[in-house]
Symmetry: C2
Subunit: 117 residues, 2 copies
DNA sequence: TGTACTGTGTACTACACAATACACATCCTC
DNA sequence: GAGGATGTGTATTGTGTAGTACACAGTACA
C-alpha cells in the first residue's frame, strides 16, 4: 500500500498529464493551503493535514475521502459520530466484523440495502 | 444523557457507598493521575483525558470503555483501526447502518454470530 | 534571453491537548 | 480536638498539531 503522500502525488501527476491545472501550486491554491505545505504533504514530511484539509484535497483530486483519511491515519468525523451515538451497539458489532472477509461484509451490505428495513 | 463528568462521578459515588476505596483520591492514585485532575474531569472542566487515561478510569470503575470514550467525544483507536483497514467497505456500510433502529442492527449482529461464516 | 511557472528548504508560530504541582478549606473519626 | 483524609482552586508546563511566510533553484517556452 502507498503512503498518503505517494497516493496524492501519483493521482495529481496522473491528472496533470491531461490537464495543466493540476500543478502542485494550482491544486494548493484551490485547496487553500501554501504550496510548500502541499509539497511536504506529498513527500510525507511532518504530520498529515487536518480532516478538513484532507477532504478538500481529496475532492479536488476526485479521490475517495475515506481512503485518503485512512492513509492519513484518520477516520472521518461523521463515521465516528455514528459510533459515538450508539457505542455499545456499534462497538461490539465492529469487533465482530473485524476479521470477516470482504465478501461476507458485502453480503451484509446488500442485505441491508435490499431488505425491508 | 449525562456528561462524561457526571457519569463518572455518579458511578464512583455509587461504588463508594459500599467500598471506601472509591474516594476521588484513591481512584486517581490507582489510575495514575493527580486528584485535582480527576476532580476537574468529574466536573467537566477542561478537555477530557486521553484515550489511555479514560480506559484506565473506565476499568477502575467497571464501566463500558466504548461508552466512556463516546461521552468524551472519542472512538477507541482499535475501532478506528477496523475502519482504516478497509475504509471504502466500512465507510459505506456504517453510513448505510447509521439510521437503522437498534433492533435491526441487533438482527445483523446475531446473524453474524450464528451464521456459518 | 528573460519571464513566468515549477517544486522545495528553512524558519517560525498560534493554539490545543493533557496533564502536573501544590496550597487550601472542609470533613470525619477516634 | 488533633490528625488524617476529602475534594477543589490557581498557576504552570511540555508536546504535538497544523499550518504560514518567504526565499531559492531549476525548467519551459515564446
Amino acid at each position: 500500500m502507498a503512503t498518503l503522500g505517494e497516493f496524492i502525488r501519483r493521482r495529481r501527476e496522473k491528472l496533470r498529464e491531461s490537464d495543466r491545472q493540476y500543478s502542485l501550486r494550482q491544486v494548493s491554491e484551490r485547496v487553500g493551503i501554501e504550496p510548500s505545505y502541499l509539497s511536504k504533504v506529498e513527500r510525507d514530511i511532518g504530520s498529515p493535514p487536518s480532516e478538513e484539509t484532507l477532504i478538500r484535497i481529496a475532492q479536488d483530486l476526485e479521490l475517495d475521502v475515506d481512503v485518503v483519511l485512512a492513509l492519513a491515519g484518520k477516520v472521518s468525523s461523521d463515521l465516528q459520530e455514528v459510533i459515538r451515538r450508539r457505542p455499545e451497539l456499534f462497538g461490539q458489532f465492529l469487533r465482530d466484523l473485524k476479521d470477516l472477509p470482504d465478501h461476507a461484509v458485502l453480503r451484509l451490505v446488500r442485505e441491508v440495502r435490499d431488505g425491508d428495513w
